[in-house]
Amino acid sequence: MIACVAVIGHQNNPLYIQSFTEADDALKLHHIVHCSLDVVEERVNNPKKSGPTLNETFLGLLYPTENYKVYGYLTNTKVKFILVTTDLDVRDADVRNFFRRFHAAYVDAVSNPFHVPGKKITSKTFAERVSNIVKSFGLSSAG
C-alpha cells in the first residue's frame, strides 16, 4: 500500500505531499520524504554509481526504512517524485508504472494556465487523480 506520495520542486521544496495512511504518521512520512532527497541528490550528482540508470527518470529504491520503502523519480524538468510504500515486496515494474501515470497527472496539472510554476499544486482534480492512481497501485500485477 502506498503511504505517501510527494512532488518536490527545484529548491527541494514540497509542491505536493499527500499521505494515505490511517495511522498518524504524516509527520514521520514528511521526514522520510525529506530525507530521501539526500539520496536523490547523491544519485543525480554521482551518476557513475547509478550506472545503467543514468538516463532514466526512475531512480529506483532510494532507501529502506524499518517499515517503508522509498522510491524516487526525476522528471526532465528536475522535479522529483517520491513514493513511500508500506509493501516490503514491491515489483519495480509496478513502481515504474505508478510513476509514469503520476507524471502524466503532474504534467496535466502544471499545464493549467492558472498554475504558477514553482508554486504548490492545489488542484483538486490533481488530488483526485493521484488518489485514483494510488488506489490502483499494484492491482495490475495482482489481477
Binding site: 520542486g9 529548491q11 527541494n12 521544496n13 514540497p14 509542491l15 505536493y16 505531499i17 499527500q18 499521505s19 498518524d24 504518521d25 504524516a26 509527520l27 514521520k28 514528511h30 521526514h31 525529506h34 530525507c35 532527497l37 539526500d38 539520496v39 547523491e42 544519485r43 557513475k48 554509481k49 550506472g51 540508470t53 529506483g60 529504491l61 532510494l62 532507501y63 529502506p64 524499518e66 519495480d92 504558477v116 514553482g118 508554486k119 504548490k120 499544486i121 492545489t122 483538486k124 488530488a127
Partner: protein, 1189 residues
C-alpha cells in the same frame, strides 16, 4: 561491540604450553607471538603446574559419556571459547636441559618419569607433545644415542624433538624458527583433528537435540577459525545460525521469555561472528545481505508483551554492532563498495553501506525500547518489589541464560528462574541505564557521519531526533542549538510542516529557558507560517505532534493571540530555570529587528518607494510606505516611525484611533507627525500609506527603517525594502496566494526604490560664454566669460575650464609630429585674463589660478546679488580642430562652507578652429626661354622629384595666399625668409618689401606675390627658406578695442627644396609681342650651347595656316661650345586674331632631348592694322607683373 567478551571479538589464536626451564620462556613466547600467524603461549615453570591446569580443565571439558542420553540445559557454554583460547593448549612443549639427557642415570630416570606423567596427562585430550632439549652449556654435546633414546621414551617423531641452543645466536634463530613451524604444524593438526572429531558427530547426527547440533557446529567453526579456515568456519556458523532459527518454534526447555532471550543471545553471537568474517573478507555486499536477513528473521519476534523492551534493546544492539563493524572495516569497504554498487543488483541503496544508517536505526530502536520499557515499568504494581528480588540473579553457565544463585552455607546452588522473576530482573537492570544519553550518542554518531557524507537532510533528521532527546532530558540549550540548525534547512527548503514542528520545540525551549525575545520570535514565525487546513498540508493529530500542537490555522491563531497578549503585558511567561514570571513591561521592553534575511519577514514586511527618483530640495516628495503581514489575525499598530539616512526627514505616523502617548508628543515635537485614520494590518493585504517629505540636503535620501509600535512596550524594527528589488517572502512564495502590489501604481511596484536623489538647489547665477564665430589657427582666440549673479551671492567661487576634443580623445596626437610647435597640444589654453584692474589687486579672496594646456582653474571673487564678473579665456589653435570648451562654476551661497552646499553651474561651447590663409606657390621660367634641364629628361621618379631650377638663370616664384576663413583679413606683409643659420645661396628680388599697406582680403580672395629667384650654386636641394605672412582679423566692423588685443599673426609656409643644375642648352624663342596683318616680322629661335662640347641639334618647323614662312623647314646644325646658333624666319601673318605661330621642334642629339615651345609661348596676336599704344608708363616691372597674371 565492546560489551562482547574479548574472545568473541577477536579471531582465535593458537595456544601452546611451555613446561620446564622457565628461564627460556620469555624468549620463546615473544618469538611465537611475533610469528605470522601469531601463537599464544602458556608458560608453566614445571610439570606439576600443567597437571593442575589440565586436570581442572578435565573436569569441565569432558563431554558427557553419552550426549544423547542427558537433556541439554543450554545451547552454548559461556566459558567454552575462553577455555580453548586461554587454558587448553594445542601443543605442550616440554623443555629439558641437555645435561639431564646426557647426564647421570638418576637425572635420566627423573626425566623419563616426567615424560610419562606428561604423556598420561595430555593423551586423553589428544594434545600434541614436543620435547625441547636445551643446551645447558656451549661445550657439551648431545649424543645421537641420547636423542634417539629420548624420542623413544617420549614416543615422538624426530621432528618433534627440537634442540634449543640459546648461547649461539645463529643457532638460536634457527631453532626458534624450527620451533615456530613445528608448533604451527602440530597445532594445526590438533585443531583439525578436534574439529573433525566433532564434525563426524554433526554429520552422523548422533544427537537428539538442536542445542547439541548448534553447539557442535559452533565448535567446528571455532576449530576452523583456529586453523584460519575461514570458509569452513563461516559455513558452520551459518549452519548453527539456521538451526537456531528453526528452534524458535520448537524448543520448550525454558520458560517462554527466557527461551527467546537465550536464542536471541546465541543468534547475536553467531551473527556477529558471521558478519565479522564476511567483512574481514571484504565481502561487504554479502555482509549487508546477511544483516538484512538477520534483521528480517528476528524483527517480528517481539516476545511477550511485558518483556517487549528486551526485543527493542536487542534490535538496537544488532544495528549498533553492525554499524561499528562497518565503521572499523570501512577502509576496506570504501574501495569495494563503489564498484560493488555499480554492478550489484539495485536492491541495495547507498545508505546501507554506511554506518550512519545503522547508527540511526540503533538509536531509533533504543528509543522504542525506552518507550516500551516505560510501559513495562508502569505495568508493575510496585517498583520497590523488583529491587530486592533481582539481586541474586546472575548469568548462568550457558550463554543467554540467567539463574538465581542461592547461598546455602558454604556452597552455592543455582536455581532456575521463572519468567516473571526474569522480567523483574531485566527491568531492574534496565533501570540502571540512562537510555536518553545512549540514544543521543548513537544519533550523534549518525549525525556526524551523515554530515561527512554531505547528506544534510538525513543529518538534520538525526539532529531533530537528538534535539528531541535533549528536550526530553531538559537539556534545552543543546536542543535549541541543534534545532536552530535544523530549522534553517527546513526554512530554506520550504518544508513548512517540519519547520512547524521544529519551531514548536524551539518555542518550548525558549519558554522553558525564559528567553522572552526568542519565545516571541519563534511564536511570531509560527503564527506567520503558511500552514492552513486546506489541501496539500494535512493536519496531524495531537498525539503525534510535539509541543507545537497540530499544524493548523486554528493553532496559528492561538499562538498569535498568545503572543499579543504577552506583548501587551497582559500575561507573562514562566521560566523553568529561575521560576520567574517574565513579562513585557516598562522594565523589559521588547524590541525585535527584522532584516532582509530574517525569517520574521513574514511577520512584517516594509516596502518603501519614492514616487520620484530625483527630488528637488525643499520640495515635498511623495513616498509610499507599504506594510504586509502574514499573521493569521489582524494586527493594530499604534504608531509607525519611518527613519531615513537624513534624520531630519524622519517622521511618525500616529494611529488616529488611539490617543498618542505623552512621551511621543514630548520627545519628538520637532519631527514631522502624520496621522493615519487606522493602522490595521490584515493578513496578506498591503497597508499602503503615502506621505510627502521634504529634504533640504542634496545627495542620497534613503529610507532605512520602519519601526512599528504595537503596544506600550513592544516595537518591531523592520528594515525598509525597495519594491523593485524585493525578494519573495520565504515559504509563502511557494503558496498559491493572492499576490498584490505594494503600491497602487503597478509601475511603481516594479521600479520603486527606497532611496532617491535630492538635487542641488537651482543655481541663480548666469554663466555666459560670449563666443565670436570660428577661431582661426594661429591667432589668440578670446572667449569672454561672464559670471552674473541673479539672486545668489557667490562665495568661494571657482571657475573650471576644460578643453575637450569634440571627436573624442585628447588634444594630443602623437602620430602627427609638429615641427614648429614645442608642445604637442593642438589647442592650448593660453591664459585667463580677468577684467581690467582685477589682476593687479588680488585682495579679498584667495586667488587661485591654475592654467594647464587644456585645463584651467580660476577663482571668482565674492559677488553680491546682482553683481557680475567677467574674464577672458585665451585659446590658441595650432591645428584646425573643433573643440568643446566646458566652463563650470562652483560656488557657495554663504561664506560658511561647512553648512551651505556647493552649487554648480555648467556651460559649454563648441568652437571650430579653422585655417585662416592657405599659402601655395609655383615656379615659372621667363617667357619663351627654356633651359634644357637634364634631370627632367629622366623618366623615372618624375612624380616625387622636386622642382628643378636652372643655374644662374632667372626663375620666377609665384606665392599666393588665399583667405579660407569666413571673416575678412588684413595682410601686413609677405616675405621669403631664410630659416635661421641657413645662408642664402640665391638672389631674390622683391623679397622684403611691404608693398601693400593695409591689404584686405575678403573670404575666398587670393593674394599673389611674385618673386624672382636666380640660383647661384648648383645643388640638388637648395633651401629656399619659407614664406612668412603677417595677417590679422579685420575687425573694423567691431567696436572692440582691437589695437592692443589683436596682434599680427605670423603664418609661415615652408618652401620646398629645389634642385639647381646647369642647363647645357638654352632655347629662346624670340618674336615680337604682337604682329600686324600682312606685315612681315622676324621669328627666331636661339639655341645657346653652354657646354664645352659641340652640340648637334636637329630642328624642324611645322607649317601654320595663318602664316607664310621663309626659312629652312628642317635641318641639322652644329652649335659650337659657348656659342649661340640662331634660326631665323621671316613670317607674314595671313589672318588676324590670336594665332598659333609655326611650331618649331628642336632635338638635341647628344642628350636625346626634344623641345617644343608651349602653345602659350608660341602664340601671337595679330592686329588687323597697327594699334596705337601709350607705352610710356610701362616699365619692365609692370610688364612682368602682367605677364605673371
Amino acid at each position: 561491540m565492546e560489551e562482547y567478551p574479548e574472545e568473541l571479538r577477536t579471531p582465535p589464536v593458537t595456544l601452546i604450553a611451555l613446561v620446564g626451564c622457565p628461564q627460556h620462556h620469555p624468549l620463546i613466547s615473544t618469538h611465537l607471538h611475533s610469528e605470522q600467524p601469531p601463537i599464544n603461549t602458556l608458560a608453566l615453570p614445571d610439570l606439576s603446574k600443567i597437571s593442575l591446569l589440565l586436570s581442572s580443565a578435565d573436569k569441565n571439558s569432558l563431554p558427557p559419556p553419552d550426549p544423547s542420553s542427558i537433556p541439554t540445559a543450554g545451547i552454548l557454554k559461556r566459558d567454552w571459547l575462553l577455555k580453548h583460547r586461554t587454558r587448553v593448549p594445542a601443543v605442550v612443549a616440554a623443555l629439558f636441559s641437555s645435561d639431564h639427557v646426557s647426564g647421570d642415570p638418576a637425572q635420566w630416570l627423573q626425566l623419563c618419569t616426567d615424560l610419562e606423567n606428561l604423556k598420561a596427562l595430555i593423551r586423553p585430550k589428544n594434545i600434541k607433545l614436543v620435547v625441547i632439549v636445551v643446551h645447558s652449556s656451549s661445550m657439551d654435546d648431545i649424543s645421537e644415542d641420547g636423542m634417539i633414546a629420548l624420542c623413544k621414551r617420549a614416543e615422538l617423531d624426530s621432528k618433534c624433538l627440537v634442540i634449543f641452543n640459546p648461547s649461539d645466536s645463529s643457532q638460536l634463530k634457527q631453532s626458534l624458527n624450527k620451533l615456530g613451524s613445528t608448533f604451527a604444524e602440530l597445532a594445526n593438526t590438533y585443531y583439525r583433528d578436534e574439529g573433525r572429531r566433532i564434525k563426524t558427530r554433526v554429520e552422523k547426527k548422533s544427537f537428539n537435540s538442536n542445542e547439541l547440533n548448534i553447539r557442535y557446529c559452533f565448535k567446528v567453526a571455532v576449530y576452523a577459525e583456529f586453523r584460519r579456515d575461514w570458509v569452513e568456519a563461516l559455513r558452520f556458523y551459518e549452519d548453527a545460525y539456521h538451526t537456531l532459527r528453526e528452534m524458535i518454534g520448537t524448543a520448550n526447555r525454558l520458560p517462554v521469555i527466557q527461551r527467546l532471550v537465550e536464542i536471541k543471545t546465541v543468534a547475536e553471537q553467531l551473527h556477529f561472528k558471521i558478519s565479522t568474517l564476511l567483512l574481514h573478507g571484504g565481502k561487504v555486499i554479502e555482509a549487508v545481505t546477511w544483516f538484512r536477513q538477520h534483521f528480517a528473521s528476528y524483527r517480528k519476534l517481539l516476545g511477550a508483551a511485558e518483556a517487549i523492551f528486551l526485543h527493542w534493546e536487542w534490535m538496537s544492539r544488532q544495528f549498533l554492532v553492525f554499524a561499528e563493524l562497518l565503521e572499523t572495516s570501512s577502509k576496506a569497504i570504501h574501495s569495494n563498495s563503489n564498484s560493488a554498487l555499480g554492478t550489484s543488483e539495485r536492491s541495495f541503496t547507498e545508505w546501507e553501506f554506511h554506518p550512519a544508517y545503522y547508527y540511526q536505526l540503533a538509536g531509533h530502536y533504543l528509543k522504542e525500547k525506552t518507550k516500551s520499557f516505560e510501559l513495562s515499568l508502569s505495568m508493575l504494581q510496585n517498583a520497590d518489589e523488583i529491587d530486592g528480588s533481582s539481586e541474586s540473579v546472575t548469568p548462568s553457565v550457558y550463554v543467554g541464560q540467567f539463574a538465581r544463585l542461592l547461598e546455602q552455607g558454604d556452597a552455592f546452588a543455582v536455581q532456575p528462574l521463572t519468567d516473571e522473576e526474569y522480567t523483574r530482573y531485566a527491568i531492574a537492570e534496565g533501570k540502571r541505564f540512562q537510555d536518553s544519553f545512549e540514544i543521543i550518542a548513537l544519533l550523534k554518531k549518525s549525525y556526524e557521519s551523515y554530515i561527512n557524507l554531505k547528506a544534510q537532510r538525513m543529518a538534520s533528521h538525526c539532529g531533530f531526533l537528538m534535539a528531541q532527546e535533549y528536550f526530553a532530558v531538559s537539556d534545552f540549550s543543546n536542543a535549541k542549538q541543534l534545532l536552530d540548525g535544523v530549522a534553517a534547512l527546513y526554512r530554506q527548503e520550504g518544508w513548512v510542516t517540519l519547520l512547524w514542528e521544529v519551531l514548536g520545540f524551539l518555542r518550548e525551549c525558549s519558554r522553558k529557558c525564559g528567553i522572552l525575545k526568542e519565545f516571541i520570535e519563534y511564536s511570531l514565525e509560527m503564527a506567520a507560517l503558511p500552514v492552513s487546513s486546506g489541501t496539500g498540508v494535512q493536519s496531524f493529530r495531537a498525539n503525534e505532534c510535539g509541543p507545537a500542537g497540530p499544524a493548523s490555522l486554528a493553532q496559528r491563531e492561538n499562538i498569535h493571540k498568545e503572543v499579543f497578549q504577552l506583548v501587551s503585558g497582559e500575561t507573562g511567561v514562566v521560566s523553568v530555570e529561575d521560576n520567574s514570571d517574565l513579562k513585557v513591561n516598562r522594565e523589559n521592553p521588547l524590541h525585535l529587528e527584522i532584516d532582509l534575511v530574517s525569517p520574521l519577514r513574514m511577520v512584517l514586511l516594509a516596502s518603501v518607494a519614492f514616487h520620484e527618483q530625483i527630488i528637488k530640495p525643499g520640495v515635498p516628495a511623495l513616498i509610499t510606505l507599504s506594510l504586509l503581514s502574514q499573521l493569521p489575525l489582524t494586527v493594530d499598530i499604534d504608531q509607525l516611525e519611518v527613519q531615513f539616512n537624513q534624520s531630519e526627514c524622519n517622521f511618525i505616523i500616529i494611529n488616529a484611533q488611539k490617543p498618542p502617548s505623552a512621551e511621543i508628543s514630548n520627545s519628538q515635537q520637532s519631527r514631522q507627525v502624520e496621522s493615519a485614520p487606522s493602522l490595521v494590518l490584515v493578513t496578506n493585504k498591503w497597508l499602503r500609506l503615502t506621505y510627502a517629505i521634504k529634504s533640504e540636503q542634496s545627495g542620497k535620501l534613503e529610507c532605512i527603517y520602519v519601526i512599528a509600535k504595537m503596544g506600550p512596550h513592544f516595537t518591531i524594527c523592520c528594515r525598509a525594502e525597495s519594491p523593485a528589488s524585493m525578494d519573495d517572502l520565504p515559504l509563502w512564495k511557494f503558496e498559491d496566494r493572492v499576490e498584490t502590489f505594494p503600491t497602487k501604481d503597478p509601475a511603481l511596484a516594479f521600479s520603486g526604490q527606497k532611496l532617491a536623489q535630492v538635487e542641488e538647489p537651482d543655481p541663480q547665477v548666469d554663466l555666459i560664454l560670449g563666443a565670436t564665430g570660428p577661431a582661426l589657427v594661429g591667432e589668440c582666440f578670446v572667449i569672454p566669460v561672464t559670471v552674473a549673479s541673479k539672486g545668489h551671492d557667490i562665495f568661494s567661487g571657482e571657475l573650471k575650464i576644460n578643453l575637450v576634443d569634440v571627436r573624442g580623445g585628447g588634444l594630443f596626437s602623437p602620430r602627427e609630429a609638429e615641427p614648429f610647435s614645442m608642445d604637442n597640444h593642438h589647442v592650448e589654453l593660453l591664459g585667463v585674463n580677468g577684467p581690467e584692474g582685477e589682476d593687479e589687486s588680488p585682495v579679498g579672496y584667495d586667488k587661485i589660478k591654475k592654467i594647464q594646456q587644456s585645463f584651467g582653474l580660476v577663482s571668482v571673487p565674492v559677488l553680491q546679488d546682482g553683481e557680475s564678473w567677467s574674464c577672458k579665456l585665451e585659446i590658441k589653435w595650432h591645428r584646425p580642430k573643433p573643440i568643446m570648451v566646458f566652463v563650470s562654476l562652483g560656488y557657495f551661497r554663504d561664506s560658511n562652507e561647512m553648512t551651505s552646499q556647493k552649487i554648480h553651474v555648467h556651460k559649454n561651447l563648441q568652437i571650430e578652429g579653422k585655417t585662416a590663409v592657405l599659402i601655395s606657390h609655383h615656379f615659372m621660367l621667363p617667357f619663351r626661354q627654356d633651359p634644357l634641364l637634364l634631370s627632367k629628361l629622366k623618366p623615372v621618379s618624375s612624380s616625387d622629384q622636386g622642382t628643378s631650377l636652372p643655374l644662374k638663370e632667372t626663375s620666377i616664384l609665384c606665392v599666393s595666399a588665399k583667405n579660407c576663413s569666413e571673416v575678412p583679413l588684413q595682410l601686413q606683409s609677405m616675405s621669403i625668409e631664410m630659416d635661421d643659420d641657413v645662408e642664402r645661396s640665391f638672389t631674390l628680388h622683391h623679397s622684403g618689401e611691404d608693398i601693400f599697406g593695409p591689404a584686405y582680403l575678403v573670404p575666398g580672395e587670393e593674394f599673389k606675390k611674385v618673386f624672382t629667384v636666380i640660383p647661384e650654386v648648383e645643388s640638388s636641394n637648395l633651401n629656399l627658406g619659407s614664406v612668412s605672412l603677417r595677417w590679422r582679423r579685420n575687425l573694423q566692423s567691431k567696436d572692440q578695442s582691437s589695437s592692443t588685443a589683436e596682434a599680427w599673426v605670423l603664418t609661415r609656409h615652408k618652401l620646398p627644396d629645389v634642385n639647381v643644375e646647369l642647363s647645357p642648352l638654352v632655347l629662346t624663342v624670340d618674336c615680337p609681342p604682337y604682329a600686324i596683318l600682312g606685315d612681315p616680322f622676324t621669328y627666331s629661335v636661339k639655341i645657346r650651347n653652354q657646354t664645352q662640347l659641340l652640340q648637334e641639334v636637329k630642328f624642324s618647323l611645322a607649317d601654320a595656316q595663318s602664316f607664310v614662312i621663309s626659312g629652312s623647314h628642317s635641318d641639322t646644325v652644329f652649335v659650337l661650345p659657348k656659342s649661340e646658333h640662331v634660326l631665323g624666319y621671316k613670317i607674314v601673318p595671313l589672318a588676324s586674331g590670336l594665332q598659333q605661330l609655326p611650331r618649331v621642334t628642336v632635338i638635341s642629339v647628344r642628350y636625346s632631348a626634344g623641345f617644343q615651345p608651349s602653345n602659350v609661348a608660341s602664340t601671337v596676336f595679330v592686329f588687323p592694322t597697327k594699334p596705337h599704344f601709350k607705352t610710356a608708363d610701362m616699365g619692365d616691372k609692370g610688364m612682368e607683373s602682367i605677364v605673371a597674371d
